[in-house]
């Protein structure tokens, strides 16, 4: 199980990192990252493969991040190694620009809309997003449409 879990984390490192950075406004990024990893490890034994591993990961990570309260107990050893692992890698110019646009747009969205956008960009279907968020597929589609319109208003407006 340990090896499998390691593989899951390795494959989803980007998602975890992004979720942690999205929710770290008032807390340490490493604190949230560490808590998400802990909760994923705790929940992994109950993962029965009824949904995809990505859906399960989003549920656990978002539920952990959105109710996160900074803990007084900090695992120093873990934090030291973590800070090395989660150091952002350098990106190419175009990717960097896209990431900046994405991040600045994400910051204008509510947490729910930002979560939906993350999954949308990740290629999730409305039904999969429904499974994670817990609202109807129609509501998800409506929200995606609204997010798209807001984005286009903001960025196409700027380009013009």
């Amino acid at each position: 199980m340990y090896k499998e879990f390691e593989q899951v984390i390795e494959n989803n490192q980007g998602r975890i990192r992004y979720i942690a950075s999205r929710y770290c406004q008032n807390h340490d990024f490493e604190d949230i990252y560490q808590e998400i990893l802990m909760q994923l490890w705790r929940s992994y034994s109950s993962f029965k493969g009824q949904s995809s591993i990505e859906t399960w990961l989003y549920k656990v990570a978002l539920n952990t991040a959105c109710t996160f309260v900074s803990k007084s107990i900090k695992h120093k050893e873990l934090q030291q190694v973590l800070s090395e692992v989660i150091k952002p890698e350098s990106q190419s110019g175009q990717e960097n620009c896209q990431a900046e646009i994405l991040n600045s747009f994400m910051n204008t969205l509510s947490d729910t809309d930002a979560n939906i956008l993350m999954m949308y960009l990740d290629g999730f279907t409305s039904e999969e997003i429904t499974e994670v968020v817990g609202i109807s597929a129609n509501a998800v589609r409506l929200r995606i449409k609204r997010i798209k319109t807001t984005f286009e208003d903001q960025y196409i407006g700027e380009e013009k």
Partner: protein, 198 residues
Amino acid sequence: MMLDDLKAGWDSEMKKPVKHEQLATVLEILQRETCKLDKSIKRRDILEVSIALLLIPVWGWKLVYSVSLMQSVGLWVAILACLFIPYKLIKAKKVNVQKNDSILSFLLIEKVKLENQKKLLESVALWYILPLMVAIILITAGATVDSLGIPQLTLQLKIYYSFCALLSVGVYLLNKRAAKKRFKPLLDKVNYRIKEIK
């Protein structure tokens, strides 16, 4: 630029390489720390319940040698309190929050859990302080009764009661403060998120 144009950027963000060896170390420490944390939570829960349960035979034994009806009533109250307090604590913890539920159902269950914990702290005077105080007063005052069954309180006992009363007020206020400071902001946060999703 359309929203879908950002998909490529997102994909490359997700596929950033990881430092494999360090990740293995992180997971190893993580596994160890989680295990340690689970053990300490289990130990704390067992301690909470076992202290109360271990006191029951003590009260029972005292009951056999009770010197007055007042003391016997006090000992019965103590026995019942030793059963009731762990029951209250266990019941409050029983709400099972699953992190792999959908965000909405997770938040709704989390809300129930937080409300229970807040209520538990706010009502600490009723389920924790009151039965213990009543038991202490009846047991100690019951030991001083005269032939008519009227307790003869000494100065030391009066000082002791005053100290217990002060301690009880302190515990009550601390819990009330914790309910307000710790659980109210959390509940507000959860309620806000539920409203936002709906």
